[in-house]
């Protein structure tokens, strides 16, 4: 049981970690993206459609990334180029994608009544590592996207903290006017960040349809985009902190499934509320966002 609990913790953590890493990069550039939920949803839907019609997993992932990329590009136009309120714009995008995917699902697949399923993205066992007792099957028999999430945690964490590009990114989130005065193109930086996050949200969304459920239902993301938003705060804007928080949340979700099956009458819904309550607690104790980029959520307009 412990083994399956560990395995499903990682499985649960993967999509939110992917989305949260994207959001980390976006927030470091000074933009707050409330629309992650929408981007993930578009990825989940696009992945299903692509796999259903092409049958290819790679195709599914690419199309999912592209769909979420498009969503974030729309957001980028709104919040970067015409500098509208980032919060309201993100909320609108969530509504928009929820509507579009709902309409499109019906258009594409009709109302057949039966759930539409596709082949699942197969796990990628890492050879002999899977034979390690307990940890082996849990950690090394995961979806390729889970390994990708881990790899990206390392890369994003390193890039933000230790590279010139990361520094320039943070400069945009810290003081966009000063960054511009040093010759950094703030618009381009924020655009790049949002597009990168789009790809990750799309993959996170694809994970939901191609790994969890093999199907699509309206609102399949179930608030995971907002969990990703919370992860960035709880992880205090650090990649490894975010990964740790994602595992914590993954465990809460996995516990729900594990216990639901074995123990009845367990208030598992309260487990599901934990991530959100924890975020509030962390924020209250941090007294504001001491670690947050100073210009987060603030529009920057070129002279």
């Amino acid at each position: 049981m412990l083994e399956s609990f560990l395995a499903s913790t990682i499985a649960m953590a993967t999509p939110i970690l992917l989305a949260a890493l994207g959001e980390l990069v976006v927030e470091q550039s000074g933009v707050i993206n409330i629309g992650i939920e929408g981007a993930m949803l578009s990825g989940a839907f696009a992945a299903l459609v692509a796999v259903y019609f092409s049958g290819g997993m790679i195709c599914g992932l690419v199309v999912a990334a592209a769909a979420a990329l498009a969503v974030n590009a729309l957001l980028a136009v709104l919040v970067i180029n015409i500098a509208v309120n980032q919060v309201v714009a993100g909320t609108a995008l969530n509504l928009l994608v929820a509507g579009i995917t709902g309409v499109a699902y019906r258009e594409v697949f009709g109302v057949t009544g039966r759930a539409l399923t596709v082949r699942a993205l197969a796990p990628l066992p890492l050879g002999p590592l899977t034979r390690i007792p307990l940890l082996g099957p849990a950690l090394f028999d995961q979806s390729p996207l889970a390994y990708l999430a881990l790899l990206l945690t390392a890369i994003v964490g390193y890039a933000i903290a230790r590279t010139r590009a990361g520094l320039r990114l943070r400069a945009c989130g810290e003081h966009p006017e000063a960054a511009a005065a040093l010759g950094i193109n703030v618009y381009r930086m924020r655009w790049t960040a949002l597009l990168f996050a789009g790809v990750l949200s799309g993959l996170g969304g694809a994970y939901l349809t191609l790994v969890y459920t093999n199907t699509f239902v309206e609102g399949i993301t179930g608030g995971r985009g907002f969990v990703a938003l919370a992860l960035v705060i709880i992880g205090r804007w650090r990649a490894w902190g975010i990964a740790a928080a994602a595992l914590l949340f993954g465990a809460a979700m996995a516990l729900q499934f594990t216990l639901q099956a074995t123990v009845t009458n367990l208030p598992y819904q309260l487990f599901l509320a934990l991530p959100y309550l924890l975020t509030l607690l962390v924020l209250a104790l941090m007294s504001g966002q001491a670690a947050a980029p100073s210009a987060l959520g603030r529009s920057y307009l070129r002279e």
């Binding site: 230790r162 590279t163 010139r164 590009a165 520094l167 320039r168 943070r170 400069a171 810290e174 003081h175 006017e177 000063a178 960054a179 511009a180 005065a181 040093l182 010759g183 950094i184 980029p293 100073s294 002279e303």
Partner: protein, 479 residues
Amino acid sequence: MLVARGICKRFGRTVALDRVDFHAAPGEIHALIGENGAGKSTLVSILAGRLAPDAGTITGADGPLRITPGTAHGVAAVFQAPLLFEQMSWEENLALGGFRRSTRLRPEALAAAARAAHDLGFALPVPGRRVADLAVGERVRLAILRALSFAPRVLLLDEPTGALAPAEVEQFLDHLGRLRRDGRAVVLVTHRLGEALTVADRITVLRRGRKVAEVPAAATNERDLATLMVGELPPPLAASTYEGAPAVLLSLADLMLEKDGRRLLDGVTMEVRRGEIVGVAGVEGNGQDALIAILAGLAAPTAGRLLTRGALALIPQDRDLDGLILEMPLWENLLLLEPLRRRFAPRYWLRRRDAVEFCRALLARYAIRAGGPHDPAAALSGGNRQRLAVARALATQPEIVVAHDIARGLDLAATRELHRQLRQYAESGRAVLLLSSDLEEIFQLCSRSYLMSRGRLRPLGPADRQAGRFGLMLSGAQG
């Protein structure tokens, strides 16, 4: 090489720069001097590409330039409020400069910085310290280092020495001399005349957005420069016609204010009496904001006493950000002032009709040009906004009016009108305290005045009225 011709810049209806010519030549230090609000910082921002001029051309060595922010044109700048990244370490701030073009941040960059700092005679801060935790002097040094790291052909420095210790200033000026020998162009904005004369080859004087002189440093002296900066002073005003008892309405005794370990006010003592307009002259940033905060009740003095007899109304320096709310209608803007709020919203509800009528009457009495009380404040011109702010303050008949830089950005006629109103108000047996960095204004209006410098006040006697001497004091050469 950078040549600017006929540069004009307006902010709304305010003319910040009026057909200004300026150039920065290789191997030359060109000092740009002038009083606060003369347009120095605006010109620097335009040369650095942070602001676009409304008219005029800028030519580089290879022809006309459309300067954009950044360092691509070989121009680097240190602005008056250094554009630093507060939450980052000072090393990261330096790394955003031009020290080393590598993907990874390496310690070598630090070594280069340390060498550059050594050349300048600067010490580097404790490793890893956040900029927000650095002292003012350290921050300026950091900004200068970062600008120099781009190895610019033109270096623009806006009041760089204000926050440096005397020994550092000397070394810094020395280094500027070295940059000149390297064939770089240096533009030094300063209000310290001594500094300009010591180090510069050429001095340009701005006054109220116009270039009034460009002279070789060798051919001038402090006295002439001060007169050029300040202009001819108006004759002192006739004595106040107020003849009642000169009771003290506002008294400050040994007022101190410390914040974050910095002493913003240092033993400020003064009295303002009935019938008087008392002036506080001084360059901005010498404690004026702290004094206003205390008078507005937004800050409590660390030590000392503040006594007022009767109500006090404030006319803030920044009418658009502090004084008014531009999106709100004029009548609601009146309610921002506490006494008017008490009058027109005594309990739960606004007395809307009364407030609107009151506003209408005020607009008529002060000849404020507006469509009516329901117009948003944004629809008014700058002058009319200021008239509204003054009218609002006077409308409550306070015993004491505190006015901070009220003439900023207004044309001469509007300024005169405001002055007449304040004068009249004081002569009706109230008191006015006027804070201003504009000497003409202080001399034109005030019966007594003080000079504020580094948080201290010192009374100005009749002997100080001489333009030259006063200009020198403002410039920090003396006193």
